[in-house]
Amino acid sequence: MPMLPKRTKFRKQQRGKLRGNATRGNYVAYGDFGLQSLEAHWLTARQIEAGRIAAQHFLRRQGKIYIRVFPDKPVSKKPLETRMGKGKAEAEYWAARIKPGTVLYEIAGVNEELAKQAFARIAQKMPVRCRFVGRRLAV
């Protein structure tokens, strides 16, 4: 079941713009390794779920997968063969706003080789270029 918010204050949103780079959620926080986006994009709930399933099937219940993004933006789409006007359409799907640097998934409890292979499978499902990252230095 793709992720979506339990309730929202407003049913529809304006599109907005994806400017700049990620300043939050741009490092591995929970797991040992992460998959980081290198581009800006809207990541749909179905794409997030497809990535999770791809990794879970590969890992076969080893380790723990963390999903670091949540699709909280409703995206509306007019039905086919509809004339223009008559107001904004209903929400078609939900999307997460991804900026360059956003960590999309994290994996804990597996070795680096296995994590790389799992992330390669997730990256196949992503609409953006991604890279493999580890935990950063702590002082």
Partner: protein
């Protein structure tokens, strides 16, 4: 546990601002600042490759020799990262005495598997990657070895064996690792349905 303090040659920075800092980084230098102990703060730059190699090795304390002058013992107080989250772009050094007590984050180096984690399907989840400790500057360990073989399924901070003179400031009841049981049969069915749904939607 204590180790030799590496000496870093540093150069004073006369010009400030992001443009000059960027030029330094392109030239293989790392902008930094030294402050503390009542002296004026001083903008410096250090060799990026050498400094990062020491930091990755777990060093927290350096002897800084600014423009070939006397050395000052400094503790790495803070690191600034670039937008991709992992490239160090600036270092904060705080002047310290070797006997001064400081709080630092120490990386945990896990070895072995707890007894419960050896069963099929059970996963060892690392809840902490670093712990905060308080100790004298000369006693700061590079990392903390955690042997999991002697534990059953859960390790708390209070269970860790720390070197002499090192006290954990992370609360004792904080989880370091725990063993996660395999998902139950009912969850498996549910997951299977999910997967099937996702596959049809993909096709």
């Amino acid at each position: 546990m204590s180790h030799e303090t590496p000496t870093l040659p540093a150069e004073r920075r006369e010009r400030h601002g992001s443009r000059y800092a960027q030029r330094l980084r392109k030239a293989g230098r790392l902008p930094a600042i030294v402050y503390g102990h009542g002296s004026d703060p001083m903008s410096i730059s250090v060799d990026a490759k050498e400094t990062l190699a020491h930091l990755h090795h777990g060093n927290h304390v350096f002897n800084l020799s600014v423009d070939g002058g006397d050395t000052e013992t400094c503790l790495v107080k803070d690191l600034q990262f670039g937008y991709m989250g992992d490239d160090v772009i600036h270092v904060d050094f705080a002047r310290v005495n070797l006997d001064e007590k400081v709080r630092v984050l120490i990386h945990l180096d896990f070895h072995g598997t707890p007894a419960a984690g050896k069963k099929g399907g059970f996963n060892v989840v690392h809840d902490l990657a670093e712990i905060e400790v308080e100790c004298a500057v000369r006693n700061i360990p590079e990392n903390l070895r955690v042997d999991l073989d002697g534990f059953e399924d859960i390790v708390h901070v209070s269970d860790l064996t720390l070197p002499d003179g090192v006290v954990a400031t992370t609360p004792g009841e904080t989880l370091v690792i725990h063993v996660q049981a395999p998902v139950g049969a009912s969850d498996e069915e549910e997951d299977g349905e999910d997967d099937a749904g996702a596959e049809t939607s993909e096709g």
